[in-house]
Symmetry: C2
Subunit: 103 residues, 2 copies
Amino acid sequence: MKLSHYYAVIFSSTLKDVNEEYNLMAEKMDLLAKTMPGYLGFESARNADLKGISVSYWQTEQDILNWKNQSEHIIAQQFGKTNWYKNYQVKICRVEREYEFGE
Amino acid sequence: MKLSHYYAVIFSSTLKDVNEEYNLMAEKMDLLAKTMPGYLGFESARNADLKGISVSYWQTEQDILNWKNQSEHIIAQQFGKTNWYKNYQVKICRVEREYEFGE
């Protein structure tokens, strides 16, 4: 991820509850996202209290729109609104600079 | 957070282990960040396996630099490198657009 500029989608969410159906769909969407043009990476963390933050990384804003409009992903988003998410916030960001520490 | 543009700092980390000293310092830094000019908000999630994502939001890149160079925060960062973090990655991002769902 050492391009001059790339994009991050910060997805902050609160689940209604943890369920196996959600976990299976999340896993399926992770695999599907990896096949999309411009996909650079994904990371995720969730507290025991159902609050989570996921960040996906993409080469361009168009790549993000293409992923948002991917047909199987649209169905997953509908399930998410109806069944799984109490709420979520999405922020599309341009990564300006970065640094790191450790292994 | 409905400014035309603002900034996000994505802080992804892996702890060596969970300890009370770290939790106390994290709480102290949360309170201190809130007092800094340009602070807009903070959210955080951590898995049981010690992998976490925190995102703080700021009005300008200068606000982010000021927070990075705040004297008590510098000490906390040193403790973090020496004692608490196995690794971390920091990404400074400009928020381009956003949307949300639910309560």
